[in-house]
Symmetry: C2
Subunit: 458 residues, 2 copies
C-alpha cells in the first residue's frame, strides 16, 4: 500500500470535494435537448481535469451525439496498460419536488453528498482522476500505462462509445479495463462484481383486424390481438417462472459450487429483500434456486410494458387492430444472444394464435459477461480493496447489464475489473441520489493502490 499516495489524498480531502462539487453542478443530463450545452461543459471539464492530473493526449472527441473524452499516459514500458472507463452524463432529476436539497447543488448531510450524479457516475469517475493525480504527485510518474475513455451517453444507450470501441482497437489496446460504476454489496464490504447478465430486448407486435372493431358486432368472430399477445406470452413462461421457449437453457452454465457457496455467506436477508426492496406479497421465480442465483445466474424473461386498445378513463368497447409488448430476456454468460433471438422468433412463429400476425423487433442484444476471478488484475484488485477497507473482498455478480464490459471483451479482448464504491441504497436514478463521502476517499485510495500494485505485479 502506498502510504505517500494515501497521505496526499488525506491532505487534499477538501479540495477534492470542492472539485467534485464543481463537476456535479454541471447538469449534464444526456436525455434532455436543453442540457446539450452542459454536456459539452462536462466533457471539457473532464478533459481539463485529466490534463491537470498529468494525463496526456487529451481529446474531447466529437461524435454524432455527445463527445467522448480520451486521454493516455504511456511511459511505463514493460508495465501493463489499464483502460479506465466512466461516464459524465446523468439521469434527469425528476421528480424534482422530492429532493430535499436541489439536485444540482451538491449538499453534505450525515456524511453523504446528495446530488444527481454524485455516485452515478461523476463521483466514481472523479475518484479515478484523483487517484492518478495522487500517484503523479508523490511519484512523479505512474506505475502502469493508463488510458481513459469517458462517455456522455451512458444513460441514453451509449451508442457513440459502442461505435468507437470497435473502430479503435489499437488506440484502446490494454490489459484490463477498470470500471467504477457499481456498488459495495453492503456498507464497508469491499466487493468485486465478476458476473453480469446480458440482455436481449425485443418488441413483439401482434396485429389482427385491419382496423379497430366494435366488440359487440364482432366479438366472438374477430381475432383480438391483445388476447393473441396474452396467449403467446402466457406460453413463454410458466407460472413457476420457468421459461418455456425451447433451447433457452441449453448453454446455461451453473455457477461453480464454490461460487454458489460463497453467496450464502453474503448478508442477504430474503424477508427484508421482499419487504423493503420489492414490496410485493411474495417473491417468484424458479423453484429450488436461491434468490441470488435466480437474479444473478439464471436467464429470466420479463414483460416491461404492454399496450393495446383503449386505455383511457372509462369504457370503450373495441377489439383493437394491434397490441405491443416490450419483452426482454436476461442472459447469463455463455448464452449467445443471436441463438436466443432465433429461439424466440421460432417460438413466436409457432405459437402465434390463429388469425393473429406477429412481428418481433430486436432493439438490443448483448451477451452476459463473466470475469475470470483468477486474472492477475482481479487478484490485485481483491487484495488492495480488502486492505483499504480492512476486511476481505467478496465476489458477487449482478443481474443487470453493463454493455461496455461486453464490448471491451469482444473488441479489445480484455476483462474488466468492476470495482465500485457506491452503496445499494444510493438511489441511482431516483430523487436524493447520494454518495457516501468516505467511500469517495476510500475509492481514490483503492484505485491508487490498485494501479500501484498491479504495476508491481508483472
Amino acid at each position: 500500500m502506498s502510504q505517500p499516495a494515501h497521505q496526499f489524498i488525506e491532505q487534499n480531502r477538501e479540495r477534492f470535494l470542492e472539485e467534485l462539487k464543481e463537476f456535479i453542478r454541471i447538469p449534464s443530463i444526456s436525455t434532455l435537448p436543453e442540457n446539450q450545452g452542459d454536456i459539452q461543459r462536462a466533457a471539457r471539464f473532464v478533459g481539463e481535469r485529466l490534463t491537470g492530473a498529468g494525463m496526456e493526449n487529451v481529446e474531447v472527441i466529437p461524435t454524432g451525439s455527445h463527445p467522448l473524452v480520451y486521454a493516455d499516459w504511456l511511459h511505463a514500458p514493460g508495465k501493463p496498460t489499464v483502460l479506465c472507463y466512466g461516464h459524465y452524463d446523468v439521469q434527469p432529476p425528476d421528480p424534482v419536488e422530492e429532493w430535499v436539497s436541489p439536485p444540482f447543488e451538491p449538499t453534505l448531510r450525515d456524511g453523504n453528498l446528495y446530488a444527481r450524479g454524485a455516485v452515478d457516475d461523476k463521483g466514481q469517475l472523479y475518484a479515478h482522476i484523483k487517484a492518478v493525480e495522487a500517484l503523479r504527485a508523490v511519484n512523479g510518474s505512474l506505475p502502469v500505462n493508463l488510458k481513459f475513455l469517458i462517455e456522455g451517453e451512458e444513460e441514453v444507450g451509449g451508442a457513440s462509445i459502442s461505435k468507437y470501441v470497435p473502430q479503435n482497437p489499437e488506440k484502446l489496446k490494454a490489459d484490463v479495463a477498470l470500471v467504477s460504476d457499481t456498488a459495495l454489496y453492503a456498507e464497508g464490504m469491499p466487493t468485486l462484481c465478476i458476473g453480469l447478465r446480458g440482455l436481449v430486448y425485443m418488441e413483439i407486435e401482434a396485429t389482427g383486424p385491419s382496423r379497430d372493431l366494435h366488440s359487440g358486432l364482432y366479438g366472438g368472430a374477430a381475432p383480438n390481438p391483445i388476447f393473441g399477445l396474452v396467449e403467446l406470452l402466457s406460453k413463454a413462461k410458466n407460472s413457476r417462472g420457468v421459461i418455456q421457449i425451447p433451447g433457452i437453457y441449453d448453454d446455461v452454465e451453473p455457477p461453480a459450487p464454490a461460487e454458489l457457496e460463497s453467496w450464502t455467506s453474503l448478508p442477504f436477508n430474503e424477508k427484508e429483500f421482499l419487504k423493503k426492496e420489492v414490496g410485493a406479497s411474495k417473491l417468484t421465480g424458479e423453484p429450488g434456486r436461491s434468490v441470488l442465483e435466480r437474479v444473478w445466474a439464471r436467464p429470466t424473461l420479463e414483460v416491461h410494458g404492454i399496450a393495446g386498445g383503449f386505455t383511457g378513463a372509462g369504457a370503450k368497447t373495441v377489439i383493437p387492430a394491434k397490441a405491443t409488448a416490450k419483452v426482454s430476456i436476461r442472459l447469463v454468460p455463455r448464452q449467445d444472444p443471436e441463438k436466443v433471438i432465433a429461439a424466440v422468433r421460432e417460438f413466436v412463429r409457432k405459437k402465434t394464435p390463429k388469425g393473429i400476425r406477429t412481428e418481433v423487433r430486436v432493439l438490443s442484444a448483448a451477451p452476459g459477461v463473466l470475469v475470470n476471478p483468477d486474472h492477475p488484475a482481479v487478484h490485485v484488485a481483491a487484495k488492495v480493496f480488502g486492505e483499504v477497507f480492512g476486511r476481505p473482498t467478496v465476489f458477487i455478480r449482478s443481474g443487470g447489464s453493463i454493455p461496455i464490459v461486453g464490448e471491451f471483451a469482444k473488441h479489445l479482448g480484455i476483462p474488466t475489473v468492476l470495482m465500485g464504491f457506491g452503496l445499494p441504497d444510493d438511489g441511482l436514478h431516483s430523487p436524493n441520489e447520494k454518495f457516501r463521502l468516505e467511500n469517495f476517499y476510500l475509492g481514490i485510495k483503492t484505485v491508487s493502490s490498485f494501479l500501484e500494485e498491479y504495476g508491481q505485479n508483472r
Copy 2:
C-alpha cells in the same frame, strides 16, 4: 297502408330534406365542451319540431348534463301508447380530413346524404317526427297515444336518461317503445332486431412490487404484474374462444331452432365478412357454431385495452408496479349481470398468481334483451315494414348493446321495436357517415304505417 299519409310524405320530400339538413347542420357533439351551445340548440330544435308536428306538453328537460326532450299526445282513448326514443347528439367528426364533404354540411351524392349524424341518429329520429306530422296532416289526429323521449347523451353513455326513466315510470308509461337506431340487414331488406347482447364492462388491475423495479436487479425474484394479468387472462378464455370462467354458460339459452334456421337464409358471406369487415387472416371463436350465432347469441369475453409499464419508444428495463386491463363480457338474454360479475370476481380471486394482488372494478352492467317476436307490436311492425319495402321482413339479433332497451324493459316493463333504416356500410362514428336518402322517406312511411296499423290492432 295509409295511402293519404304516404302521399303527404311524397309531396313533402323536398321540405323534409331541407329540415333534416337544418337539424344536421347543428354540430351537437356531445363529448366536446366547446359544443355545449350546439347541444342546447339541437334540443330546442327537436322540441320545436315536435310542437310543429302536433305533439303536446313539449318539454326541454334540464339535467346535470345534456337536456332530455319530452312530448306527448294522449287523445286516443282505448288505443295503445307508443314511446318513441331517439338521440340528437352525435359523435365527433374526427378525422375531419378524411371527409369528402364537410361533416356538418349535409351533401347529397349518389342518393346518399353525407354528414355526421345523418343516420345516427338525427335522420332516423326525424323520420319519427315527420311520420307524426304526416298522420296529423291527413287525419287531424293520431291513431295511437304517443310519447317521445329524446336524449343528448347517447354517444357519451346516456347517464341522464338512465336516471330519468326509473324516476318517471308513470309519465313514460306505454305499451311498447319504438327505436330507430339500427340498420337493415342489407339494402332493401326490412329488418327487425329482436335480440341484443348485454354487457358487463370491467377494469382489472394487477399490482406487484411497491414501485417500478429494475428488471436486471430483480428479474427472477420479483412478481411482474403484467405477467400476472397475462396469466389470469390466458386462463379466462381458451385458444378456441371458449370462456373458462366457471358458471358463465349456466344460463345461456340457445336460440330456438327456427331462429337459428332463419339466420342461414340471410345473405351472410363468411369470406366477405372476414375480408371486407374484419380484415384479419382468419376468424376465431367457439367451434361448431356459426359466425352469426357466435356474435349474436353467445357470451364473449374480450380485452379492449391493456396498459402497464414502459410503452414509449425504445427500451426501458422495468418490472412495473402495476398493469391494467379493460375487459368485458357480452351477455345473452337470461344471463344475470350480477351473477356474471360474481363469477368473474371469484375466478380472478382464485386464479390471481402468487405475489400479485388484483382488483376488479365494474364500470357498467346491463343484461341482454330478447324481444318476443309474437308481441302484437312486433307482428304489426314486421307486416308494415315488409309492405312498405315490398319484401318479407327478416328477424335478426345484434351482438351489440343498446342500454336504453334494457332500461325500458326493466323500469317500464315494455318491449322495444327496433326498427332501423340505416345500412351496414353507413359509416356510423366514421368519416363520411351517410344515410341513404330513400331510406329516410321509406322510414317515415314505415313508421306512419306502423302507428296506424298498431292503432287498429286493438
